[in-house]
Symmetry: C2
Subunit: 101 residues, 2 copies
């Protein structure tokens, strides 16, 4: 039988990235830093929900929110190292979905 000590972390990971829209947001951010509006127009998701998800991902240290002191203020979202480290998993799921769904 498998070591159950691995389960809590895998469960936690799935709880984070398995949340509705989260993987798609990360997938979109693999393209590089983007403004809120760019992410919003790329995904079939409401601004309110996107904002909520981005805050969660920021809190988890997966997404970085950078504010540029310009006029008007520019805000960009990007993947942290922790977020970029998920790219392999996201690509694998993407490949699987292309082959099997």
């Amino acid at each position: 039988m498998k070591e159950t000590t691995l389960c809590p972390r895998l469960a936690k990971a799935m709880e984070m990235i398995g949340k509705r829209w989260t993987a798609l947001i990360l997938y979109q951010l693999l393209d590089g830093p983007q403004r809120f509006n760019a992410i919003e127009s790329a995904l079939p998701i409401s601004g309110r929900l996107l904002s909520e998800r981005l805050k969660e991902l920021e809190k988890e240290g997966i997404v970085l929110r950078t504010v540029y002191s310009e006029v008007p203020v520019r805000v960009e979202y990007s993947l942290t190292d922790k977020g970029l480290a998920l790219s392999g998993a996201i690509r694998e799921i993407e490949d699987w979905s292309k082959e099997w769904l």
Copy 2:
């Protein structure tokens, strides 16, 4: 901007494997065919919920339920080719969770 035609399939994939416990069940089945009780005792999940998830996975063609006509009847669950094709993704998420969580 990314092709939005990819989104529906990635969204569908995440909807399937992002469901609570599903990835852990698949992870457990990577060890090979197993009886219901073996899966149940390996995971912190109720029998009722496990049964529900296995039925969903069977319906999606990811898990195969095999009944052996023995006395008493033996029932085993295993991954189909479609299910096995998810092993790369699950391993990637496992690796990520070990490094970052």
